[in-house]
Amino acid sequence: MTQQSEYAKPLPRPSELSRPFWDALKDGGLRLQRCGPCDRFVFYPRTLCPYCMGQELDWAPLSGRGKVYTYTVVRRAMIPAFQADAPYVFAIVELDEGPRVPTNIVNCALEDVKVDMPVQATYDDVTAEITLLKFEPA
Protein backbone atom coordinates (compact mmCIF):
# COMPACT_ATOMS: atom_id res chain seq x y z
CA MET A 1 0.00 0.00 0.00
CA THR A 2 1.97 3.00 1.28
CA GLN A 3 5.49 3.10 -0.08
CA GLN A 4 8.18 2.73 2.57
CA SER A 5 10.27 5.66 1.38
CA GLU A 6 7.29 8.00 1.78
CA TYR A 7 6.19 6.86 5.21
CA ALA A 8 7.10 9.65 7.65
CA LYS A 9 4.63 8.92 10.48
CA PRO A 10 5.75 7.51 13.82
CA LEU A 11 6.16 3.76 13.70
CA PRO A 12 5.94 1.27 16.53
CA ARG A 13 9.18 -0.35 17.58
CA PRO A 14 8.21 -3.93 18.39
CA SER A 15 9.85 -5.28 21.53
CA GLU A 16 10.59 -8.89 22.31
CA LEU A 17 7.35 -8.90 24.28
CA SER A 18 5.15 -7.37 21.59
CA ARG A 19 6.77 -8.98 18.54
CA PRO A 20 4.11 -11.74 18.14
CA PHE A 21 1.39 -9.07 17.90
CA TRP A 22 3.16 -7.19 15.13
CA ASP A 23 4.23 -10.39 13.35
CA ALA A 24 0.63 -11.62 13.29
CA LEU A 25 -0.55 -8.34 11.75
CA LYS A 26 2.12 -8.66 9.09
CA ASP A 27 0.74 -12.12 8.30
CA GLY A 28 -2.76 -10.65 7.98
CA GLY A 29 -4.16 -11.85 11.32
CA LEU A 30 -4.85 -10.57 14.82
CA ARG A 31 -3.34 -12.29 17.84
CA LEU A 32 -3.28 -11.11 21.44
CA GLN A 33 -2.14 -12.54 24.72
CA ARG A 34 -4.70 -14.62 26.56
CA CYS A 35 -4.34 -15.28 30.26
CA GLY A 36 -4.29 -19.00 31.15
CA PRO A 37 -5.70 -18.71 34.68
CA CYS A 38 -8.55 -16.24 33.95
CA ASP A 39 -9.01 -16.83 30.20
CA ARG A 40 -9.22 -13.12 29.37
CA PHE A 41 -7.62 -11.48 26.38
CA VAL A 42 -5.08 -8.78 27.24
CA PHE A 43 -4.26 -5.70 25.19
CA TYR A 44 -1.60 -4.29 25.04
CA PRO A 45 1.00 -7.05 25.54
CA ARG A 46 2.20 -7.27 29.14
CA THR A 47 4.32 -9.41 31.40
CA LEU A 48 1.38 -9.99 33.74
CA CYS A 49 -2.37 -10.23 33.44
CA PRO A 50 -3.80 -6.96 34.78
CA TYR A 51 -6.97 -8.76 35.81
CA CYS A 52 -5.61 -11.66 37.89
CA MET A 53 -1.83 -11.07 38.20
CA GLY A 54 -1.28 -14.29 36.26
CA GLN A 55 1.91 -14.66 34.23
CA GLU A 56 0.85 -17.52 31.99
CA LEU A 57 0.03 -15.42 28.95
CA ASP A 58 -0.17 -17.29 25.66
CA TRP A 59 -0.83 -15.86 22.22
CA ALA A 60 -4.19 -16.70 20.69
CA PRO A 61 -6.02 -15.63 17.50
CA LEU A 62 -9.03 -13.31 17.51
CA SER A 63 -11.86 -12.90 15.02
CA GLY A 64 -10.88 -9.37 13.98
CA ARG A 65 -14.49 -8.33 14.46
CA GLY A 66 -15.73 -5.64 16.78
CA LYS A 67 -17.57 -2.37 16.99
CA VAL A 68 -16.66 1.29 17.23
CA TYR A 69 -16.57 2.12 20.97
CA THR A 70 -15.87 5.77 20.24
CA TYR A 71 -14.11 7.91 17.64
CA THR A 72 -13.16 11.40 16.64
CA VAL A 73 -12.38 13.07 13.36
CA VAL A 74 -8.95 14.68 13.59
CA ARG A 75 -9.12 17.77 11.40
CA ARG A 76 -5.82 19.25 12.50
CA ALA A 77 -3.05 16.75 13.13
CA MET A 78 -0.62 17.26 15.99
CA ILE A 79 2.01 15.10 14.37
CA PRO A 80 2.91 16.92 11.12
CA ALA A 81 3.20 13.75 9.04
CA PHE A 82 -0.50 13.06 9.63
CA GLN A 83 -1.66 16.45 8.35
CA ALA A 84 -1.87 15.27 4.73
CA ASP A 85 -4.41 12.62 5.84
CA ALA A 86 -6.61 15.08 7.78
CA PRO A 87 -9.51 14.83 8.27
CA TYR A 88 -9.15 11.21 9.39
CA VAL A 89 -10.88 8.99 11.93
CA PHE A 90 -9.02 8.13 15.13
CA ALA A 91 -11.08 5.58 17.01
CA ILE A 92 -11.21 2.99 19.73
CA VAL A 93 -12.63 -0.35 18.61
CA GLU A 94 -14.02 -2.84 21.09
CA LEU A 95 -13.17 -6.31 19.84
CA ASP A 96 -15.80 -9.04 20.09
CA GLU A 97 -13.45 -10.84 22.49
CA GLY A 98 -13.34 -7.85 24.88
CA PRO A 99 -10.22 -5.72 24.56
CA ARG A 100 -10.37 -2.19 23.15
CA VAL A 101 -7.71 -0.98 20.72
CA PRO A 102 -6.74 2.47 19.41
CA THR A 103 -7.03 2.48 15.62
CA ASN A 104 -8.20 4.22 12.48
CA ILE A 105 -11.48 3.55 10.69
CA VAL A 106 -10.78 3.39 6.96
CA ASN A 107 -12.70 2.70 3.76
CA CYS A 108 -15.65 4.63 5.16
CA ALA A 109 -16.92 8.17 4.58
CA LEU A 110 -16.37 10.38 7.65
CA GLU A 111 -20.07 11.07 8.07
CA ASP A 112 -20.89 7.36 8.00
CA VAL A 113 -18.76 6.48 11.03
CA LYS A 114 -20.98 5.90 14.08
CA VAL A 115 -20.48 4.77 17.66
CA ASP A 116 -21.34 1.05 17.97
CA MET A 117 -20.98 0.50 14.21
CA PRO A 118 -19.81 -3.09 13.43
CA VAL A 119 -16.31 -3.19 11.96
CA GLN A 120 -13.74 -5.74 10.88
CA ALA A 121 -9.97 -5.69 10.90
CA THR A 122 -7.97 -4.66 7.88
CA TYR A 123 -4.21 -4.88 7.73
CA ASP A 124 -2.28 -1.89 6.42
CA ASP A 125 1.30 -2.69 5.39
CA VAL A 126 2.68 0.80 5.95
CA THR A 127 6.30 -0.32 5.55
CA ALA A 128 8.06 -3.57 4.66
CA GLU A 129 8.42 -4.28 8.39
CA ILE A 130 5.31 -2.82 9.97
CA THR A 131 1.64 -3.56 9.45
CA LEU A 132 -0.92 -1.46 11.34
CA LEU A 133 -4.25 -2.79 12.59
CA LYS A 134 -7.06 -0.72 11.14
CA PHE A 135 -10.79 -1.32 10.80
CA GLU A 136 -13.43 -0.92 8.10
CA PRO A 137 -17.21 -1.31 8.12
CA ALA A 138 -18.19 -4.98 8.51
Binding site: R13, M78, D116
Partner: protein, 390 residues
Protein backbone atom coordinates in the same frame (compact mmCIF):
# COMPACT_ATOMS: atom_id res chain seq x y z
CA UNK B 1 -7.34 9.89 58.67
CA UNK B 2 -8.89 13.28 58.22
CA UNK B 3 -7.22 16.42 56.96
CA UNK B 4 -10.20 18.59 57.88
CA UNK B 5 -8.83 21.97 59.08
CA UNK B 6 -5.31 20.48 59.22
CA UNK B 7 -4.06 23.37 57.10
CA UNK B 8 -5.17 26.47 55.25
CA UNK B 9 -4.14 28.40 52.17
CA UNK B 10 -3.19 31.90 53.27
CA UNK B 11 -1.26 33.24 50.32
CA UNK B 12 -1.52 33.11 46.55
CA UNK B 13 0.49 34.55 43.69
CA UNK B 14 -0.44 34.46 40.04
CA UNK B 15 0.61 36.05 36.75
CA UNK B 16 -1.78 37.23 34.10
CA UNK B 17 -1.33 34.66 31.32
CA UNK B 18 0.22 35.77 28.04
CA UNK B 19 -0.01 34.11 24.65
CA UNK B 20 3.73 33.60 24.40
CA UNK B 21 6.76 33.68 26.71
CA UNK B 22 7.71 37.31 25.92
CA UNK B 23 11.21 36.75 27.28
CA UNK B 24 10.06 35.10 30.48
CA UNK B 25 11.60 31.85 31.71
CA UNK B 26 9.94 29.14 33.74
CA UNK B 27 12.31 29.68 36.66
CA UNK B 28 11.71 33.42 36.52
CA UNK B 29 7.94 32.91 36.54
CA UNK B 30 8.17 30.55 39.51
CA UNK B 31 10.27 33.10 41.38
CA UNK B 32 7.79 35.91 40.75
CA UNK B 33 4.74 33.93 41.84
CA UNK B 34 6.57 32.43 44.83
CA UNK B 35 7.51 35.88 46.10
CA UNK B 36 3.94 37.13 45.58
CA UNK B 37 2.41 34.16 47.40
CA UNK B 38 4.79 34.29 50.36
CA UNK B 39 4.26 38.03 50.81
CA UNK B 40 0.51 37.54 50.42
CA UNK B 41 0.64 35.02 53.28
CA UNK B 42 2.45 37.55 55.42
CA UNK B 43 5.58 35.39 55.54
CA UNK B 44 9.15 35.60 54.28
CA UNK B 45 10.97 33.02 52.15
CA UNK B 46 12.99 31.67 55.14
CA UNK B 47 9.67 30.79 56.81
CA UNK B 48 8.98 28.28 54.03
CA UNK B 49 10.00 24.76 55.08
CA UNK B 50 8.10 22.74 52.47
CA UNK B 51 8.36 23.01 48.67
CA UNK B 52 6.15 21.25 46.15
CA UNK B 53 6.42 21.77 42.42
CA UNK B 54 4.11 20.88 39.54
CA UNK B 55 6.62 20.33 36.72
CA UNK B 56 6.51 22.17 33.38
CA UNK B 57 5.03 20.17 30.53
CA UNK B 58 7.42 21.50 27.89
CA UNK B 59 10.70 21.11 29.81
CA UNK B 60 12.12 17.77 30.91
CA UNK B 61 14.34 18.50 33.91
CA UNK B 62 15.03 16.42 37.01
CA UNK B 63 15.21 17.62 40.65
CA UNK B 64 13.25 20.83 40.34
CA UNK B 65 12.91 21.44 44.13
CA UNK B 66 16.68 21.86 44.43
CA UNK B 67 16.85 24.16 41.42
CA UNK B 68 14.06 26.48 42.53
CA UNK B 69 15.04 26.15 46.20
CA UNK B 70 18.55 27.37 45.43
CA UNK B 71 17.28 30.26 43.31
CA UNK B 72 14.93 31.62 45.97
CA UNK B 73 16.91 30.43 49.01
CA UNK B 74 14.31 27.96 50.25
CA UNK B 75 15.73 24.73 51.67
CA UNK B 76 12.77 22.54 52.53
CA UNK B 77 12.41 19.78 55.07
CA UNK B 78 9.84 18.36 52.68
CA UNK B 79 10.34 18.76 48.92
CA UNK B 80 8.82 16.98 45.98
CA UNK B 81 7.54 17.12 42.43
CA UNK B 82 3.87 16.26 42.05
CA UNK B 83 3.47 14.76 38.61
CA UNK B 84 -0.28 14.32 38.22
CA UNK B 85 -0.87 16.58 35.25
CA UNK B 86 -3.80 18.91 35.74
CA UNK B 87 -4.51 17.35 39.14
CA UNK B 88 -1.09 18.39 40.44
CA UNK B 89 -2.26 21.68 41.97
CA UNK B 90 -5.10 20.26 44.04
CA UNK B 91 -2.94 17.24 44.84
CA UNK B 92 -0.18 19.57 46.11
CA UNK B 93 -2.63 21.23 48.49
CA UNK B 94 -3.62 18.03 50.27
CA UNK B 95 -0.08 16.67 50.23
CA UNK B 96 1.07 19.89 51.88
CA UNK B 97 -1.67 19.52 54.49
CA UNK B 98 -0.72 15.89 55.12
CA UNK B 99 2.93 16.85 55.58
CA UNK B 100 1.96 19.64 57.98
CA UNK B 101 -0.39 17.29 59.82
CA UNK B 102 2.44 14.76 60.15
CA UNK B 103 4.64 17.44 61.70
CA UNK B 104 7.15 17.51 58.82
CA UNK B 105 6.81 21.24 58.19
CA UNK B 106 4.65 24.30 58.85
CA UNK B 107 4.56 26.36 55.66
CA UNK B 108 4.55 24.72 52.23
CA UNK B 109 5.07 26.68 49.03
CA UNK B 110 3.34 25.03 46.04
CA UNK B 111 4.59 26.26 42.67
CA UNK B 112 3.45 25.80 39.06
CA UNK B 113 3.63 27.43 35.67
CA UNK B 114 5.83 27.69 32.63
CA UNK B 115 6.99 29.77 29.72
CA UNK B 116 5.28 28.15 26.75
CA UNK B 117 2.93 28.78 23.88
CA UNK B 118 0.84 26.74 21.47
CA UNK B 119 3.84 25.87 19.29
CA UNK B 120 6.11 24.71 22.11
CA UNK B 121 3.24 22.92 23.80
CA UNK B 122 2.48 20.76 20.81
CA UNK B 123 5.88 20.54 19.12
CA UNK B 124 8.33 18.74 21.43
CA UNK B 125 6.20 15.70 22.02
CA UNK B 126 5.46 15.36 18.35
CA UNK B 127 9.18 15.30 17.58
CA UNK B 128 10.18 12.88 20.32
CA UNK B 129 11.30 9.51 19.00
CA UNK B 130 9.09 6.57 19.85
CA UNK B 131 10.07 5.08 23.17
CA UNK B 132 8.95 1.78 24.62
CA UNK B 133 5.88 3.23 26.22
CA UNK B 134 2.56 1.54 25.46
CA UNK B 135 1.15 4.88 24.29
CA UNK B 136 3.95 5.35 21.78
CA UNK B 137 3.85 1.79 20.50
CA UNK B 138 0.10 1.20 20.30
CA UNK B 139 -1.59 4.59 19.95
CA UNK B 140 0.72 7.20 18.40
CA UNK B 141 1.02 5.28 15.07
CA UNK B 142 -2.69 6.01 14.53
CA UNK B 143 -2.34 9.79 14.82
CA UNK B 144 -3.91 11.01 18.08
CA UNK B 145 -4.00 14.80 18.53
CA UNK B 146 -2.37 14.76 21.94
CA UNK B 147 -5.05 14.58 24.61
CA UNK B 148 -7.43 16.63 22.43
CA UNK B 149 -8.50 13.51 20.56
CA UNK B 150 -9.01 11.62 23.81
CA UNK B 151 -11.41 14.19 25.22
CA UNK B 152 -13.13 14.34 21.84
CA UNK B 153 -13.65 10.59 21.99
CA UNK B 154 -15.09 10.97 25.49
CA UNK B 155 -17.46 13.70 24.29
CA UNK B 156 -18.52 11.58 21.30
CA UNK B 157 -19.32 8.62 23.55
CA UNK B 158 -21.11 10.87 26.08
CA UNK B 159 -23.30 12.21 23.27
CA UNK B 160 -24.05 8.64 22.19
CA UNK B 161 -24.91 7.37 25.68
CA UNK B 162 -26.75 10.39 27.07
CA UNK B 163 -27.82 12.54 24.14
CA UNK B 164 -25.56 15.42 25.12
CA UNK B 165 -25.41 18.13 22.44
CA UNK B 166 -22.75 20.51 21.15
CA UNK B 167 -25.02 23.42 22.12
CA UNK B 168 -25.03 22.24 25.74
CA UNK B 169 -21.25 21.95 25.74
CA UNK B 170 -20.93 25.40 24.16
CA UNK B 171 -22.98 26.89 27.01
CA UNK B 172 -20.16 25.99 29.40
CA UNK B 173 -17.63 27.92 27.30
CA UNK B 174 -19.96 30.91 26.89
CA UNK B 175 -20.83 31.20 30.60
CA UNK B 176 -17.19 30.92 31.56
CA UNK B 177 -16.35 33.66 29.06
CA UNK B 178 -18.90 35.91 30.76
CA UNK B 179 -16.89 35.29 33.95
CA UNK B 180 -13.61 36.05 32.19
CA UNK B 181 -15.06 39.31 30.90
CA UNK B 182 -15.22 40.35 34.58
CA UNK B 183 -11.63 39.22 35.24
CA UNK B 184 -8.98 41.65 33.93
CA UNK B 185 -6.33 38.96 34.49
CA UNK B 186 -7.93 36.52 32.05
CA UNK B 187 -6.28 35.94 28.67
CA UNK B 188 -9.64 36.52 26.93
CA UNK B 189 -10.86 39.30 29.27
CA UNK B 190 -11.82 41.70 26.50
CA UNK B 191 -13.32 39.18 24.08
CA UNK B 192 -17.01 38.26 24.44
CA UNK B 193 -18.12 34.80 23.33
CA UNK B 194 -21.62 33.48 22.70
CA UNK B 195 -22.92 29.94 22.34
CA UNK B 196 -23.27 30.53 18.60
CA UNK B 197 -19.68 31.82 18.40
CA UNK B 198 -18.52 28.53 19.92
CA UNK B 199 -20.66 26.46 17.54
CA UNK B 200 -19.47 28.55 14.57
CA UNK B 201 -15.79 28.10 15.45
CA UNK B 202 -14.09 25.42 13.42
CA UNK B 203 -14.17 21.76 14.36
CA UNK B 204 -10.71 20.61 15.47
CA UNK B 205 -11.44 17.11 16.74
CA UNK B 206 -15.09 16.15 16.34
CA UNK B 207 -17.24 16.96 18.21
CA UNK B 208 -15.02 19.62 19.83
CA UNK B 209 -14.80 23.09 18.32
CA UNK B 210 -11.85 25.47 18.68
CA UNK B 211 -13.44 27.40 21.57
CA UNK B 212 -14.10 24.22 23.51
CA UNK B 213 -10.36 23.51 23.70
CA UNK B 214 -7.98 25.09 26.18
CA UNK B 215 -5.31 27.48 24.97
CA UNK B 216 -1.71 26.73 26.09
CA UNK B 217 0.06 29.92 27.16
CA UNK B 218 2.66 31.41 29.50
CA UNK B 219 2.03 32.10 33.17
CA UNK B 220 2.33 30.73 36.67
CA UNK B 221 0.75 30.47 40.07
CA UNK B 222 1.87 29.66 43.60
CA UNK B 223 0.08 28.93 46.87
CA UNK B 224 1.22 28.93 50.48
CA UNK B 225 -0.33 26.19 52.63
CA UNK B 226 0.26 26.65 56.36
CA UNK B 227 -0.41 25.03 59.72
CA UNK B 228 -3.49 26.04 61.75
CA UNK B 229 -1.21 28.01 64.10
CA UNK B 230 0.28 30.06 61.26
CA UNK B 231 -3.16 30.41 59.67
CA UNK B 232 -4.55 32.00 62.81
CA UNK B 233 -1.65 34.50 62.85
CA UNK B 234 -2.16 35.37 59.19
CA UNK B 235 -3.40 38.79 58.17
CA UNK B 236 -5.34 37.13 55.34
CA UNK B 237 -8.58 35.31 55.92
CA UNK B 238 -7.50 31.65 55.69
CA UNK B 239 -9.06 29.34 53.13
CA UNK B 240 -9.31 26.17 55.20
CA UNK B 241 -8.89 22.71 53.76
CA UNK B 242 -12.08 20.95 54.80
CA UNK B 243 -11.94 17.89 52.61
CA UNK B 244 -9.72 16.14 50.08
CA UNK B 245 -9.91 13.03 47.94
CA UNK B 246 -7.82 11.53 45.19
CA UNK B 247 -8.50 8.79 42.66
CA UNK B 248 -6.99 7.79 39.35
CA UNK B 249 -6.99 5.32 36.50
CA UNK B 250 -4.53 4.58 33.71
CA UNK B 251 -3.11 6.72 30.97
CA UNK B 252 -4.71 5.39 27.77
CA UNK B 253 -8.40 5.79 27.08
CA UNK B 254 -8.58 2.36 25.43
CA UNK B 255 -7.64 0.83 28.79
CA UNK B 256 -10.40 2.46 30.80
CA UNK B 257 -13.54 0.47 31.58
CA UNK B 258 -15.96 3.39 31.15
CA UNK B 259 -14.70 6.55 29.52
CA UNK B 260 -17.78 8.70 30.24
CA UNK B 261 -17.58 8.28 34.02
CA UNK B 262 -14.42 9.53 35.72
CA UNK B 263 -12.66 8.76 39.02
CA UNK B 264 -14.13 12.08 40.23
CA UNK B 265 -16.94 9.85 41.48
CA UNK B 266 -14.52 8.62 44.16
CA UNK B 267 -12.31 11.68 44.69
CA UNK B 268 -15.20 14.12 45.12
CA UNK B 269 -17.16 11.75 47.36
CA UNK B 270 -14.11 11.41 49.61
CA UNK B 271 -13.63 15.19 49.77
CA UNK B 272 -17.30 15.88 50.55
CA UNK B 273 -17.39 13.12 53.17
CA UNK B 274 -14.29 14.45 54.93
CA UNK B 275 -15.76 17.95 54.93
CA UNK B 276 -19.18 16.74 56.04
CA UNK B 277 -20.93 18.71 53.31
CA UNK B 278 -22.70 18.04 50.02
CA UNK B 279 -22.48 19.43 46.50
CA UNK B 280 -25.66 21.48 47.02
CA UNK B 281 -23.92 23.31 49.91
CA UNK B 282 -21.27 24.75 47.57
CA UNK B 283 -21.22 28.46 46.80
CA UNK B 284 -18.67 27.93 44.02
CA UNK B 285 -17.48 25.08 41.81
CA UNK B 286 -13.96 25.75 40.58
CA UNK B 287 -13.36 22.74 38.41
CA UNK B 288 -10.74 21.77 35.85
CA UNK B 289 -11.85 22.66 32.35
CA UNK B 290 -9.34 21.63 29.71
CA UNK B 291 -12.40 21.13 27.47
CA UNK B 292 -16.12 21.85 27.81
CA UNK B 293 -16.86 18.13 28.22
CA UNK B 294 -14.58 18.03 31.29
CA UNK B 295 -16.79 20.49 33.17
CA UNK B 296 -19.96 18.66 32.24
CA UNK B 297 -18.65 15.27 33.38
CA UNK B 298 -17.15 16.79 36.55
CA UNK B 299 -20.50 18.28 37.56
CA UNK B 300 -22.13 14.87 37.01
CA UNK B 301 -19.49 12.79 38.75
CA UNK B 302 -19.05 15.15 41.71
CA UNK B 303 -22.79 14.87 42.31
CA UNK B 304 -24.04 18.31 41.28
CA UNK B 305 -26.52 16.52 39.02
CA UNK B 306 -27.56 13.03 38.05
CA UNK B 307 -25.19 11.03 35.83
CA UNK B 308 -25.88 11.76 32.19
CA UNK B 309 -27.90 14.90 33.00
CA UNK B 310 -24.92 17.24 32.70
CA UNK B 311 -26.12 18.62 29.37
CA UNK B 312 -29.58 19.71 30.52
CA UNK B 313 -28.07 20.80 33.86
CA UNK B 314 -25.68 23.33 32.32
CA UNK B 315 -28.52 24.61 30.11
CA UNK B 316 -30.86 25.05 33.07
CA UNK B 317 -28.34 26.78 35.34
CA UNK B 318 -26.53 30.08 35.08
CA UNK B 319 -22.87 29.18 35.64
CA UNK B 320 -21.66 32.77 35.80
CA UNK B 321 -20.61 34.65 38.93
CA UNK B 322 -24.11 36.15 38.96
CA UNK B 323 -25.79 32.77 38.62
CA UNK B 324 -27.35 30.08 40.79
CA UNK B 325 -24.28 27.85 40.52
CA UNK B 326 -21.14 29.90 39.88
CA UNK B 327 -18.61 27.73 38.03
CA UNK B 328 -15.06 28.84 37.27
CA UNK B 329 -15.61 32.51 38.06
CA UNK B 330 -12.10 33.42 36.82
CA UNK B 331 -13.15 32.26 33.38
CA UNK B 332 -11.83 28.75 33.71
CA UNK B 333 -8.78 27.76 31.78
CA UNK B 334 -10.84 27.95 28.58
CA UNK B 335 -10.99 31.73 29.00
CA UNK B 336 -8.28 32.47 31.60
CA UNK B 337 -5.65 30.47 29.71
CA UNK B 338 -3.69 27.32 30.47
CA UNK B 339 -0.13 28.18 31.56
CA UNK B 340 0.97 24.56 31.91
CA UNK B 341 0.02 23.00 35.22
CA UNK B 342 -0.65 26.48 36.65
CA UNK B 343 -3.91 26.15 34.75
CA UNK B 344 -4.93 23.67 37.41
CA UNK B 345 -3.71 26.02 40.13
CA UNK B 346 -5.94 28.79 38.75
CA UNK B 347 -8.98 26.89 40.05
CA UNK B 348 -7.50 26.92 43.56
CA UNK B 349 -6.36 30.55 43.53
CA UNK B 350 -9.80 31.64 42.33
CA UNK B 351 -11.53 29.66 45.10
CA UNK B 352 -9.19 31.28 47.64
CA UNK B 353 -9.96 34.76 46.26
CA UNK B 354 -13.69 34.12 46.42
CA UNK B 355 -13.50 32.75 49.97
CA UNK B 356 -11.38 35.70 51.02
CA UNK B 357 -13.84 38.12 49.46
CA UNK B 358 -11.32 39.71 47.11
CA UNK B 359 -12.61 38.60 43.70
CA UNK B 360 -13.58 42.13 42.69
CA UNK B 361 -16.38 42.59 40.16
CA UNK B 362 -16.96 38.84 39.97
CA UNK B 363 -17.19 38.29 43.74
CA UNK B 364 -19.81 35.69 44.63
CA UNK B 365 -21.91 37.08 47.46
CA UNK B 366 -21.48 35.15 50.70
CA UNK B 367 -18.98 32.67 49.31
CA UNK B 368 -18.15 30.35 52.22
CA UNK B 369 -17.70 26.91 50.67
CA UNK B 370 -15.99 25.98 47.42
CA UNK B 371 -15.50 22.70 45.58
CA UNK B 372 -12.24 22.57 43.64
CA UNK B 373 -11.31 19.79 41.25
CA UNK B 374 -8.06 19.00 39.51
CA UNK B 375 -8.02 16.63 36.54
CA UNK B 376 -4.95 15.06 34.98
CA UNK B 377 -4.37 13.11 31.79
CA UNK B 378 -7.50 12.06 29.93
CA UNK B 379 -9.97 12.17 32.82
CA UNK B 380 -7.50 10.05 34.74
CA UNK B 381 -5.85 11.50 37.86
CA UNK B 382 -8.36 13.36 40.02
CA UNK B 383 -7.73 15.37 43.18
CA UNK B 384 -10.78 17.05 44.70
CA UNK B 385 -10.88 19.62 47.51
CA UNK B 386 -13.49 21.32 49.63
CA UNK B 387 -12.26 24.70 50.88
CA UNK B 388 -14.09 26.94 53.32
CA UNK B 389 -13.89 30.15 55.30
CA UNK B 390 -14.39 28.47 58.70
Amino acid sequence: MTLKRSAAITGIGELKPTGSAEGKTTLGIWTDVSRQAVLDAGLTLPDIDGLLIAPPITEAVAMWPAILGEYINVHPKYGDVVDLGGASATAMVWRAAAAIDAGLCRAVLCVSGEASDIESFYAPRARKPAAQLPYREFEVPYGPMGVNSGYAQIAMRHMHEYGTTSRQLAKVAADQRTNANANPDALFFDKPLTVDDVLDSRLIVDPLHLYEIVRPCTGGAAMVVVSPELAKESSQRPAWLLGAGEASRGAMLSQMANITTSPIVESAAAAFEMAGVEPRDMDLASVYDCYTITVLITLEDAGFCEKGRGGPFVEEHDLTYKGDLPVNTHGGQLSFGQPGLAGGTSHVTEAVRQLQGRAGERQVTGCELAFVNGNGGILSEQASLVLGTE
